[in-house]
Amino acid sequence: MSSPAVEVDNLTKIFRLSLRRDYLVAVQNLSFTVGEGEIYGLIGPNGSGKSTTMKVILGLMKPTRGTTSIFGLDSRDVRSRHRVGFLPENPYFYKHLSGRETLYFYGKLCGLKKRDLKARSAELLALVDLEDAADRRLSGYSKGMLQRIGLAQAIIQRPQLVILDEPTAGVDPSGSRKIRDLILKLKEDRVAVILCSHLLEQVQEVCDRVAIMQEGKMLKEGALDELIAVEDEVELVMKNLPPGLQSQIENLVRDDPDAQLVRSGHPRTTLERLFLSETEKGQQGEGKAS
């Protein structure tokens, strides 16, 4: 049996805040597994510990308790990073390098040989649609272009796992659609992806499984279809409803002894609805505890 792409086992990460004798629990007893070729969405409000979790998986931080591994190799082992690509939040690369030089740099760090590197860089520049800008320095790149060159460097050594932290933050809708298409392309190639995002629509579009985090804890995790399907409810989405018809329907429902109208109004993304209700619940729980 082969190991899962990522295994997070009972991870706790506590930051010691300097000056004050204070601790901050950024991640608490977090466990999850990402299978080979699976697209895993990690969503949660700002400060819920998503980036911290990614950094521990990548060995940039040490866990306070628990372990994380990539394809069975502990994250603290530098060799675990051969099979993973990472795009950090708001990345900056060396501004003095051109797009092509950037890919050469990261490719060489991954041990790619010269000939392979040249072909692979050209292929990736085409994939992320930066062929025209390939020989321009990154200091002149827009946010969306930086994000795409970042994605290209993340997959330069053909890793079987890619970790993307807010890949579409600050990118315009068309740029963000390009990134989504690239993720779907990775999915076709059976590359596992961890996608941290607060763009729920995007997560819903590409992810197989989703975890919702808040204040360092996992609120809910599961296959996307199961999470957002509500078995005992039926949704009617109607267009151009004539005035009065809505209240007629509502009256019909009210007259039925069992049926119950849960909500009416304009439709929302289902994942977004789930997200809001879960985090609101979490908020209430916290309120009681403290």
């Binding site: 190991s3 950094k55 990548l58 931080m61 041990g111």
Partner: protein, 302 residues
Amino acid sequence: MSAAIPEYRPPLFSAQRVWTLATSTFTQLVRMKTFYFLAVFAVLVIAASNLNLLYTPVQQLKVIRETSLGAMSIFSWLFAISATAVLIPRDLEDRTLYTILSKPVPRLEYLVGKLLGVLLVIGVALALMYAFFSLILFFQEYSIISSEMSRMSQNPRYSLEDRATEAALISAYGPDLNLLYGVLAVFLKSAVLATVAMLISTFASSSLFTIIITTVIFLIGHFHKMAADFWVAEQQGALITRILGKVLVLVIPDFQIFNISDSISGGQSVAFLVIAQMSALALMYVIIFTIASWFLFSDKEF
């Protein structure tokens, strides 16, 4: 559950990766236009070689040697401290470090690569400066000797022997192997200095802090022998100051060992043994401080 062993076991230390990091650092520093200093240097050397107001022929060559070696030292020290102090914090601030360390790059390789990149720039700059000023010195020596000889030949007071002595005296200050030793000493001193700056920058909160502390260590390091005599021999005083003194003497490198350039610009020959000893000591300092930096850096979280 079986932990899958990856089919490919890469080496834990790769010279190729270090070289990639070093050349990228080199490119970065070059594209920051650091080599503009070379133009300043050229102007300085040419100015020094045309300052023949009051000098005797020997003094004139001495001025060129001293100005050049002095400018080379100052460039190397300033560069060693400031470039090293800025590079790693900038990688961290720009989050470039995340993308590098999330590749299979051990932290030691990152440090060695950065240090090597800085040393490459210093080495290349020193080589270019050395070549330029040797050339100037060579032509100056030639023109001074020929003008001296023609002056002396017109005066019957000077014998042939006198003229040969004078020519030998002047050419002792021309380009020679000792100059190369002097440049090597400048390089080694800068290498140690850069490694100290790297060590400080692994725990410093800002580049300014690194620059200040490294400069202080650099200055104290020039009084190393004095400090060692004073502190190590010191038997009185509180235990704590005695221990502190000994620790300081052990931790702060002795920068005085590199000051052979004074005697070299004076034209004295320097024994090869001194050079070898100096190189060995420099290498030892660089290795020790690199290991210490690694120790601190590998515990760091980003």
